[in-house]
Symmetry: C2
Subunit: 396 residues, 2 copies
């Protein structure tokens, strides 16, 4: 039988990052291509404790069907926490627990985007989200990322040019892949432009708690007097990605549509893991845990940047980061980035070619992304040394 | 701001069953409207044991990101188990772990159905699946369910009338909501018709292991020499629905598209729960556990049918079942079913009106569905007595 697939997936390819993971799975290859939390970051002991407790105390509720909106105590505690810590969430908002942040992208696309509608993205941006938008046949329009966040001029032009833009997708803190943090001025400007043009904002903040330097900058959702921002948070980087627990805080009308879509997607998120996250943020010292993570990653990020200074200069330059898990590296024009990445794999180091993060993958790009949270210090040193030698040998 | 939702969700309503749950949440109301496993059905002790073990032995793998296809040992063990026990799965097939069986419906719709394409369903059928198909703007065409499964004449007519039919959705064992089991002859006929008309079959089998009487009938997927059947199985009814672990066995080309869609939906299914399911089916006596469940439910099903004989006759008639969790009840023409269900709620008993399960909810229907797995014996007796009294009082 000749299978006929839907238009929306006929041209979809597996994520380029996931393809690169195939090389990365070779134990001889140093992978700087992942985005996994450090193995040292998981509160495994606490999770085991909580899990034993909730299974002993509430075995039926933990194992039975639950409601699509999410576990009520977790929703309440997150609502209180986000209000208190970040001034996020107003009376007109409600909170939905999702199966990872990826599901927020999926549900928002499903609820808001007709085929051909425009989603405005940062360029570069997180490939997983871009692929989800593509899977609904959204048209992606990229807005260049500058050192202080997306170009406001280009954003306004994109809004003028695309009357059918549905939302602006942004990762304001320690953006994946660029590492860039959007300035307060630009956050306000993005908000005002969205309001002016009647377009929603989808604010994705998986790394917000992982700031290593510089001052906290309020999230766009904290300005949201007009109910135009959908905020997405996640436990993947701060508790465990394997549990797949994330959330979004959205205006109630949108929330209601997302709930209906979630019913049809997976009914509800794993309830056991929702219990575990709830106990962890309420009965343990969550802020102390975050502080521990920041300490761990501050050290790793600095170590990585020191290695880049030591081994990669002058051929590879990089953008200093204040948080997150990624560093964006640039090659000079004289070095062809895709060939460089392929040669690096042959030398057993895996990075992600920058064009993978563009709205148009065929666009020329001379950057690549490295991750420092997953590899060990030894792997980082080995990998960056090889990258530096390879790039510098090409300069001569 | 006036929100504009996508065409596919503008007319979607929350599931009628979920709306009924709101009444069912009142502790004074006897709910016969759910589809939850019995609280006595969960292997809670074993799950706690396994969870403690895997978190102690493999904390990182259990909590870290994993692959979209699913946990490799679970995929291998399920493949072996399904082949050995049910002759399901051939060389051309592959297995994907999903976040509940609902996600199989979602991914198949996403990968296969363009807006306006037809999905052929049993009428009545499982409301959750129908709503997922609707959320992709599929056109649903219903084929009446007879006591031995869907009408083959009506199915062929539907296939002739709808050249853009993408798949036939069927629950051959102890169908939800009708309780009907499709005969072997009809399973073969459905397979041959699908082959003849070049249409796929989506075989949903959540209750297959819960047979209480009669002989095992081979699943449609076991005939699948032609790679036209997508088989969906689930741990929700036999281990725990709260963990959201299910799977589908599909021809490789389709499998690959489903994997790409899953990457964009939730990246992967909760890996902790996948470890737990894998250990439970391999290190524990899974078949003995299934036997225990069948014993529990055989008793409950018989108790429920005895109560219907005792209290509901002659106004309410019902269809005897050989398995599953639901009994389909008919009212005489003289009683208006929707009014009856509303009055029942006022008398504190909640059932699901039969029209909720039709492809066209506005079609006339004189049946309703009751569930016997969730309520206690006392609740069942109380509920059915009230239903019987109400119906019989209307006969006079």
């Amino acid at each position: 039988m000749e299978y006929t697939f839907s238009d929306r997936v006929s041209n979809l390819k597996p994520s380029a990052i996931r393809e690169i993971f195939k090389y990365a799975a070779d134990p001889e290859v140093v992978s700087l291509s992942a985005g996994n939390p450090s193995p040292d970051a998981f509160p495994a002991k606490e999770i085991a404790e909580i899990s034993a407790k909730v299974l002993a105390e509430n075995p039926i509720s933990v194992l039975q069907y639950s409601v699509s909106e999410g576990y009520t105590p977790l929703r309440r505690h997150l609502t209180e926490y986000m209000k208190k810590e970040h001034n996020i969430g107003r009376e007109g908002d409600d909170i939905l627990i999702t199966t990872g942040a990826q599901q927020v992208m999926d549900l928002c696309s499903k609820a808001l985007v007709n085929e051909g509608d425009v989603v405005i993205c940062e360029a570069p941006s997180f490939i997983g989200s871009l692929n989800t938008f593509r899977s609904y046949n959204a048209k992606l329009v990229g807005v260049p990322v500058e050192p202080d966040g997306m170009s406001i001029t280009a954003l306004e032009q994109a809004l003028k040019d695309n009357k059918n833009a549905k939302f602006i997708y942004t990762i304001p803190n320690f953006q994946n892949p660029s590492g860039v943090t959007m300035s307060l001025e630009k956050r306000k400007a993005v908000y005002e432009l969205a309001k002016k043009y009647g377009v929603l904002i989808l604010e994705d903040n998986p790394y917000g708690d992982l700031r290593y330097s510089g001052e906290f900058i309020p999230n766009i959702k904290s300005f949201d007097e007009d109910e135009i921002v959908i905020y997405c948070g996640s436990f993947s980087k701060v508790i465990s990605p394997g549990m797949r627990v994330a959330y979004c805080i959205a205006p109630k009308q949108i929330f209601q549509k997302l709930v209906v879509c979630k019913q049809g997607s997976d009914v509800h998120t794993n309830i056991w893991s929702q219990y575990v996250c709830d106990e962890f943020i309420t009965k343990y010292d969550f802020n102390a845990h975050l502080e521990k993570l920041r300490k761990l990653y501050t050290k790793k990020a600095q170590f990585c940047m020191d290695l880049l200074d030591k081994y990669a200069s002058p051929a590879i330059t990089y953008h200093k980061i204040d948080g997150g898990l990624f560093i964006w590296c640039d090659l000079p024009e004289s070095i062809d980035m895709p060939s460089f990445c392929k040669e690096a794999v042959l030398k057993k180091v895996c990075v992600v070619p920058g064009n993978a993060f563009l709205t148009d993958e065929n666009e020329k790009c001379n950057s690549f992304r490295i991750n420092f949270s997953t590899p060990t210090d030894e792997q980082l040193e080995k990998g960056i040394k090889i990258l530096g030698e390879l790039a510098n040998s090409k300069l001569k």
